[in-house]
């Protein structure tokens, strides 16, 4: 019950701040938000309507033609698919829609986990200071200096192969966590500078209480911005790892894997639909998150903005 009040308090503060108002006047951010909501709707629709097993399995031997172009181009539109079919005679349209579900699901898991871990580390570093702070944050700084995709590749080499897409998720969580830790630590330090935390300490509040009640709600805005910016990155990097063969297992309707098959099977033969549609979905989704993230950063309180990159 008390947490309820706390959440409402945080939301109330968010609404009262010019943040939301600024954000909604930013036309590009609204476009981004619309794209994301649309993609989420597609994802849920695909998850409810289609069967993953059917989309992943090869349907060779049925009456469906192998690598047929989109229906509206082909000679006999009635029997053909909107986005055509792939080398295993699977419907690319359905696979693209289902790919939205996979991208958003694994993107959420990746960003959610790195946010949680990063928030924990950042707040602990800010609150305890001294050696704890120094060792945690400097480690994060060094991790930040590594090129993201190359670090992820090196990590992927360490994890067992049978983890499948989870291998990519774990690698990317390690890559992204430092960003969140840094943002949160910066924001938390500013909150700690405010007098009321001192006052709470004087009143005898215990450590975890101060962390959860006072510091966390006040760092919500920068965390949200960083998460949004990172969401686009996570989706693109997950797809990249799948594309390189270190993510989704063969047959999975993930955009990265579909693109990889499209490059393998369709480039020389001119079967453009194999790679065009999955890439289009991927690019639009990422653009949506980048538009929204940029808008949010601009709308953010300048005091908090500097930490977000």
């Amino acid at each position: 019950m008390s947490t309820d009040t706390e959440t409402r308090g945080a939301l109330g503060r968010l609404r009262a701040s010019p943040f939301l108002a600024d954000l909604l006047t930013n036309r590009l951010a609204v476009v981004g938000l619309t794209i994301i909501l649309g993609m989420a709707a597609i994802a849920v629709y695909a998850r409810v309507t289609y069967d993953l097993g059917a989309l992943a399995s090869s349907q060779l031997g049925t009456e469906v033609t192998d690598r047929a172009p989109p229906g509206w181009l082909g000679p006999a539109p009635a029997t053909q698919q909107l986005f055509g079919t792939d080398a295993a005679a699977r419907d690319i349209y359905k696979r693209c829609l289902y790919g939205a579900w996979l991208a958003l699901k694994f993107g959420t898991i990746t960003v959610g986990t790195s946010t949680t871990v990063g928030v924990g580390m950042g707040i602990i570093a800010a609150y305890y200071g001294d050696v704890t702070d120094n060792v945690i944050m400097r480690t994060m700084d060094v991790l930040l200096a590594f090129p993201p995709l190359l670090l992820a590749l090196a990590l992927v080499a360490i994890f067992p192969r049978d983890l499948g897409l989870w291998r990519a998720v774990v690698a990317l969580v390690l890559v992204y966590t430092p960003r969140f830790a840094r943002v949160v630590r910066g924001a938390a330090l500013k909150v700690l500078e405010d007098e009321y935390v001192d006052a709470t300490v004087a009143l005898g509040a215990t450590d975890p209480r101060i962390l959860v009640r006072h510091i966390l709600p006040n760092t919500l805005a920068p965390i949200t911005v960083q998460s949004t910016l990172n969401f686009g990155l996570a989706i693109i990097d997950l797809a990249a790892l799948s594309f390189l063969g270190f993510g989704a297992q063969a047959g999975t309707p993930s955009w990265g894997l579909m693109l990889s098959r499209g490059v393998e099977n369709g480039l020389l033969t001119g079967q453009w639909w194999l790679s065009f549609f999955p890439g289009l979905f991927l690019a639009i989704t990422v653009l949506g998150f980048n538009l929204l993230g940029d808008g949010m950063r601009d709308a953010l309180d300048p005091r908090m903005r500097e930490a977000v990159d």
Partner: protein, 121 residues
């Protein structure tokens, strides 16, 4: 090694560094020894455990060393850039170097601890 006749400045210079690295080393020794023993009890394969724990130590050691040299390499630049951009981050080269020296010591300790326990087993 600080000889008794050395000027005090050098002695404190060495001592502070030895203390940083040494505190990490002690923690590492403990972690490495316990890790090696515990992992062997858990998996029952001393050779594989030695490889895993030692490799983790090498990872921490290498990471610390990288961070240490990286802080010196890029430290001035980063500090100046933050000052230039007016961002109020309290990153300093010194802090970073010290944290990395600790990590480096810790990694080294893990490697030594693992090897000692492995030799005893």
């Amino acid at each position: 090694m600080a000889a008794p006749g050395d000027p005090p400045r050098l002695r404190s210079y060495v001592a502070s560094r030895v203390r940083l690295f040494g505190s990490g080393l002690l923690v590492g020794l403990l972690l490495g020894g316990l890790g090696m023993a515990g992992w062997t009890l858990y998996t029952g394969d001393a050779r594989a455990s030695e490889a895993t724990v030692f490799a983790l130590g090498a990872l921490v050691f290498g990471f610390g060393l990288l961070g240490w040299s990286g802080s010196i390499l890029a430290g001035n630049g980063i500090e100046a850039m933050q000052e230039h951009m007016g961002t109020r981050s309290d990153w300093t080269e010194k802090d970073s170097r010290r944290a990395m020296a600790r990590l480096c010591g810790g990694g080294g300790g893990i490697m030594v601890g693992t090897s000692v326990v492995a030799a005893l087993l």
